[in-house]
Symmetry: C2
Subunit: 168 residues, 2 copies
DNA sequence: CTGAAATTTCAAAAGTTTTTGAAAGTTTTT
DNA sequence: AAAAACTTTCAAAAACTTTTGAAATTTCAG
């Protein structure tokens, strides 16, 4: 397989992969394109490579910047803005974990804590099942939360070297 | 907050949560409803509780069964089918991990392995960046794969008891 | 300042996913 | 063997999401 084909496949499957993870196809494709570009790209470069409109590139680039996955780069002597993606996959992963934890897990745990305090007779099986379920979710979520916190703060070498010895 | 309100909130936020994870709103809501129901429910029960059509319930229940999260239950002396969800959150989580690993991670790793073998001069920076990125993703993915395998096979007590001592 | 280049915005169009509900299919009962 | 009870299917409609592109805004070199 030559580079052009391989690029196409990578970009298109990263896009498909993204859709399973609540990220839209185009955002994931732009990210993929930037991941494999040795140099920063401009909006026009991205429009050309992926055949998408200016507005679309602009919006999705902005989201990628919000997620902390892409940075604006100003090339000296150039008027226009360029964009480049964080290339270290460990950093990419921890950044995504950090954001999703903040956006999804943390609010969910807050809600579960509130719902656990539902009023009602704990001997009523409907109340009991509700409280048990919510509390089970909260417990599990808190374990996950702690684990992800450590992962986000950890250095890759510690993680891969020390912790991964358990997984053999 | 009374039970009815709490139920509503739980179902609706579980639905919203699901959409961030590539699961459709209704499927997640049905799952939520079954999680907090002490007894199995029929299609009609679900239609009523969530105000959705018969076909919709049927399709989404089928998907939940495919995911291994819901089971058909035949109540003695009853003609119709009832459905009940696995209530143990640890089992629910490992089941989801197992399925997503199989459906998404495994094929992705296969693709990365193929793409890593792209032909071309490794001194060309475009080729180099492509291979480095793909290989970085493969490495990370394989670590994750191993870790998730252990998690899926592990018993909850081992996981929470032994492993979680690391996360303090 | 000025005006050309670059970026951002956003309403409308295109595309995608989900839902509905009636018809077809299946199983059970009489 | 026909009717009744229940389940599944699927084409069309509705709802939702993404993309476009032209206009508005911002930026900056001269």
């Amino acid at each position: 397989m030559n580079l052009a084909e391989a690029k196409q496949q990578f970009i298109s499957s990263w896009g498909a992969f993204g859709t399973h993870w609540g990220i839209n196809r185009t955002m994931a494709q732009i990210h993929a394109l930037l991941l494999i570009s040795p140099d920063p790209l401009s909006q026009d470069d991205i429009m050309q490579e992926l055949n998408i409109s200016r507005g679309n590139v602009n919006m999705n680039i902005r989201d990628l910047i919000d997620w902390g996955l892409v940075q604006r780069v100003l090339l000296p002597g150039e008027r226009r803005e360029y964009f480049s993606a964080e290339k270290d996959i460990w950093k990419v992963a921890t950044q995504i974990v950090k954001e999703r934890k903040k956006r999804e897990l943390d609010p969910m745990l807050k809600l579960m804590t509130r719902l656990e305090a539902v009023e009602g007779d704990k001997k009523d099986k409907h109340v009991k099942q509700f409280v048990d379920t919510v509390s089970g979710i909260r417990h599990f979520g808190q374990q996950a939360d702690r684990m992800l916190d450590v992962m986000v703060k950890a250095d890759e070498n510690w993680f891969v070297g020390t912790l991964m010895k358990f997984f053999r």
